[in-house]
Amino acid sequence: MRSASLQIHLAFKLTTALLAVAGSVVLLLTLTRLIPGDPATVILGSRATPEAVAALNARIGLDKPLIEQVFAFFRRLFSGDLGQDVFNGRPVLGLVLGALPNTAALAISAMLCAIAFGVPLALLSARRPGGRVDRLVAFLSVGFISTPSFVVSVFLLMVFSVTLRWFPVLGAGESGDLGDQLWHLVLPTAALAAGWIGYIARLLRSSLLEMLGENHIRTLRAYGVSEAKILMKYALKPAVLPTVAVVGMGFGELLGGAVFAEVIFNRPGLGSLIYDAIRTRNYPVVQGGVFVIVLLYVLTNLIADLSQSLIDPRERARLASGRGQ
C-alpha cells in the first residue's frame, strides 16, 4: 500500500515533468518563428536577393510550415537526433553535448561555492540575531544579491586577470587538462556564486531563526544542550528544507541562466551557444539547446522535490500513510 502510494506520487511528478518539457518546447518553437528574421540574412549578408534567401531556406528546411517543423522536431527527437546546425550541417546533439559539460561544471561549482559560503554565513548570523556579525552578514548578503553578476564578472576580470594576471579571461581551459579547466573556472564561479551566497545566507538564516523559536529547541536549551549543538544538530536539518528546494531550482536556473558569465568569460557553454544561435536565428541549435536545458531544469526540480519528500519526516509520513497523490 505504502509502495503503491509512492509509485503514484512518482508517476504524477514524472508525468507533469514530461508535460512541462513538451509544452515548453512547443511554445519555444512557435515563439522563435514568430520573431522576425531568419538565418538566410545572417549567411547571405544583410542584402541578399529574395531568390537566394528562398533557395537557402529550402536548403535548410525553413520553407516548410511551422507545424510540420514542430512534428519533425519531435519525430527526430525519438531517434536521438536534435537536427543540424543550419550553417555547416554539424549535428546539434554534438554541439549541445560539447557545451553541456562546461555549463554543468560552472553551475555545479557555483552552487557548491554558494552553499559552502552561504550556509556558514547563515549559521553565524542566526547564532546572534541583530549582533555585529549578523548585521555584517546582512550587509554583505544584500550587497551580493543586488550586484548583477555581469558587474561582478567585469570587476573580477579587471582585478584578477588584467591587473594581477592570476586567472585567464577566455574559455574553459585545455581539454584533458583538469588543472587548467579548474583555473578557468575560478572567476566565472565566483561571479555566479556571489548572488547565490547572499541568497542562501538570507534564506537559511530566516529558516534557522524560525526553527530556533520552536518549542522543542526551547526544551533542548532547558536541558542544557549547547547552543552550537542545537544549531548544527537540531535546527539546521529541518531549517534547510526550503533552501534545498531553492537550491534545486537555482541549479536548474544556473544551467540555462549562466549566459552572462559564459558570454563575458567567453566560455563555450550551453547558455552562450543558445545566445549566439538566437542572434543568428540558427533554429535547430536554439531548439536543441533549450530542449536540453528545459529537460535538466525539470529534472533538477524533480530531484529537489523528491529529495525534500525524503528529508522531510512529515512528507515521508504523508506518503507512507497513503495520502500522497
Binding site: 588584467v162 585567464p168 579571461v169 577566455l170 567567453n266 549566439d276
Partner: protein, 521 residues
C-alpha cells in the same frame, strides 16, 4: 588526531598561499610572447569553410590563407597580385586567359592544382549543387558562361557579358578560391563545409568549435606569398568588451576595437592602435513613397535640419570621417566635390512651410538597436524637433531589423537609419539603390531610370576612367533626390601588440593572415 590551528597558524598559512600565488601563480596564458605565433580575436566562430557557401568575413579570412585563387588582394590595398596564376590576361571584354604556376599541390594528398580544379571551382557557382539548389554566392559569378581547360595548367574564363567587377568581387575574393575537385568528390559537399583543403600558405590544423582554430604554415606550399608567423590561433569572442579585457590581460595579440577605446588601449605599454578608414556607408533617409516624404521640399528640409557634424561629434566621438556621398575616398568613383550639406534651420523651416507643413509633423525613425545608432537617432530626433518634426525612435534587434529587407516589409518604413558594408567595386555599392531593389534593400524606395541605366553601364564598362565618371554621375542623382543623408563611411580600429603589424584590407572586415608580420622598430 585532531587539528586545532591557532590564529597565528591560520594567518601564516594564508599569507604563504597568497605569496605563492602572487609570485608563481601567473597563468600560462599570460606567459611572455612567443613571436612565432599570434593569437587573434575573431568576433564569431568559423561557420562554413566552403568558399561558395561561406558565411561572412571570419570564414573568408581563414579560407584566404588556406586556399589560393588565381589572384589575391595585395596586403592593405584593393589592388590584386598573382597568386596561383603566373599569367592572367584579359584577352577581350568577355575572355580571361590564365596560366597556373607549376608545382602547386593540395594538402591531404589530393594532388596537384590544375586547370581542371579551376574549372570545377568556378563553374560550381553557376550550376546547382547536389540537392539542385544554387550555391550561396552564385551571384558573384553570374557573368560566367564557362571555363575552358586548354592544358593541365592553362585555361580560358568565358563570360556572358563584360564584367569589370569580376576581379574584385570574385577572382580575388572568396568566390575565386580554388578547391580541389578530387577532395570535393571524395569528401562530399557537406564535409567541405567543415574540412578545409587547400594549396595555400597555411593549413587549418585544428578547429574546436566555439573555442579556437589553429592555422599552421603549410610546409609544402610553393606559391609566391610568404607568411611570417608559424602559427595563427583564432579565438572567437563575441563580446567586444571581453576581447578588450583579454587584450589588456595579454591573452590575445590582435583584436578589432571600438575606435573610442583606442586612446585607453594605446596607453598600455605594449599596445599599438591602427585606424583604417572604412568603405561602408551609413545614412538615413525617408521612404519617399510615403507622404509627406514624397515632396522633395520636405526631404530637403530634413537635410537642412539635421546637423551631421553634431552626429559625428556626439555619436562617433568626433573620430569618424564624414561621408558626403555614397562612395568612400578609397574607391573608384569617389566624388570628391560632393556638396557638404550644412545645417540651415531657416531654410528648413521655409521649405516645410512651402510644402504645407509649417508646424512640422510626426514621424518614426527605424534603427538597428545598438548604443551608437540610438545616439545618432536621438540627435536626429533633437535636430528635427527644432523644426517641428516630432520623431519617434523604433529600435529593432538586429535580425528583426534586417528582416525589413524581405517580403516588401520596407514599404511601411518612414525614416530609417541604415549601414551597409562596402566592397571594393563601386557597382556593388550602387546596386542597392536601383529601382529593382525597391521592396528589398532600397528602403528609401527611390526609383530613377537614369540611375538604373548608369548602374548597368558601370557594370559592363571596362575603362576605369569612364567607370569613374559613370559612378560620379550616379551619385549626383542620389544627391539630387535628397532621399539619402550621408553620415559616415565608418572607421576601423584595431589593437595589436607593438611588435605585430596586422594585415588588414581597406574594408576593415577582411584580414590577410598571410600579411600579419613582425613590426620593424
Amino acid at each position: 588526531m585532531t587539528f586545532n590551528p591557532t590564529r597565528r597558524q591560520v594567518l601564516l598559512g594564508g599569507a604563504s598561499i597568497a605569496t605563492v600565488v602572487a609570485l608563481g601563480g601567473v597563468h600560462p596564458a599570460f606567459a611572455a610572447a612567443d613571436r612565432s605565433k599570434i593569437t587573434v580575436r575573431v568576433d564569431k566562430d568559423l561557420s562554413n569553410l566552403d568558399p561558395a557557401n561561406r558565411s561572412g568575413p571570419v570564414d573568408l579570412n581563414v579560407i584566404w590563407s588556406v586556399q589560393q585563387g588565381l589572384i589575391s588582394f595585395k596586403p592593405g590595398s584593393t589592388e590584386w597580385e598573382f597568386d596561383a596564376a603566373e599569367e592572367l590576361e584579359q584577352v577581350s571584354d568577355t575572355e580571361i586567359r590564365f596560366k597556373l604556376r607549376s608545382g602547386l599541390a593540395f594538402t591531404g594528398g589530393y594532388g596537384p592544382l590544375t586547370a581542371e580544379d579551376v574549372k570545377f571551382s568556378f563553374e560550381r557557382f553557376i550550376k546547382p549543387d547536389t540537392e539542385g539548389k544554387p550555391v550561396t554566392y552564385a551571384k558573384d559569378w553570374s557573368a560566367l558562361d564557362r571555363v575552358e581547360v586548354t592544358g593541365p595548367l592553362e585555361g580560358r574564363i568565358i563570360l556572358k557579358n563584360p564584367a569589370p567587377a569580376l576581379y574584385t568581387i570574385a577572382l580575388a575574393d572568396g568566390s575565386g578560391r580554388i578547391v580541389s575537385k578530387k577532395a570535393f568528390e571524395a569528401l562530399g559537399e557537406k564535409a567541405i563545409a567543415t574540412t578545409l583543403i587547400g594549396s595555400g600558405p597555411y593549413i587549418l590544423k585544428e578547429w574546436t568549435p566555439r573555442e579556437t582554430f589553429v592555422l599552421d604554415i603549410n610546409p609544402d606550399y610553393k606559391g609566391p606569398i610568404k607568411p611570417h608567423f608559424q602559427q595563427i590561433i583564432g579565438k572567437p569572442i563575441g563580446e567586444q568588451k571581453t576581447s578588450e579585457i583579454a587584450f589588456q590581460s595579454g591573452e590575445i595579440d590582435f583584436t578589432a576595437i571600438d575606435p573610442e577605446n583606442g586612446k585607453a588601449l594605446a596607453a598600455l605599454p605594449d599596445a599599438s592602435i591602427t585606424e583604417i578608414p572604412a568603405i561602408d556607408y551609413v545614412w538615413f533617409g525617408p521612404n519617399i513613397e510615403k507622404a509627406p516624404f514624397d515632396d522633395i521640399r520636405v526631404r530637403q528640409a530634413i537635410r537642412y535640419a539635421v546637423d551631421i557634424d553634431a552626429i559625428l561629434q556626439g555619436a562617433y566621438s568626433g573620430l569618424y570621417p564624414r561621408a558626403n556621398a555614397l562612395l568612400a575616398p578609397s574607391l573608384l568613383g569617389y566624388w570628391k566635390d560632393a556638396p557638404v550639406h550644412t545645417r540651415d534651420l531657416e531654410k528648413a523651416q521655409s521649405l516645410l512651410a512651402e510644402a504645407g507643413h509649417p508646424d512640422g509633423f510626426k514621424t518614426k525613425l527605424t534603427i538597428e538597436a545598438n548604443a551608437r545608432y540610438e545616439a545618432v537617432a536621438q540627435i536626429i530626433q533633437a535636430n528635427l524637433a527644432e523644426v517641428g518634426i516630432e520623431v519617434e525612435i523604433e529600435a529593432l534587434e538586429s535580425a528583426a531589423y534586417w528582416a525589413l529587407g524581405e517580403n516588401d516589409a520596407s514599404k511601411d518604413l518612414e525614416l530609417s537609419l541604415i549601414k551597409y558594408n562596402g566592397k571594393f567595386d563601386p557597382g556593388f555599392q550602387t546596386q542597392w539603390f536601383t529601382s529593382a531593389q525597391v521592396g528589398q534593400w532600397n528602403w528609401q524606395r527611390w526609383k530613377n531610370a537614369d540611375f538604373d541605366a548608369l548602374h548597368e553601364k558601370g557594370g559592363v564598362t571596362v575603362d576605369p576612367a569612364e567607370r569613374e565618371k559613370i559612378y560620379i554621375e550616379a551619385q549626383k542623382l542620389l544627391d539630387d533626390s535628397a532621399a539619402f543623408i550621408w553620415i559616415t563611411h565608418n572607421l576601423n580600429a584595431f589593437a595589436s601588440r607593438k611588435w605585430l603589424k596586422p594585415g588588414v584590407l581597406p574594408n576593415g572586415n577582411n584580414w590577410l593572415y598571410t600579411a600579419f608580420t613582425e613590426a620593424t622598430a
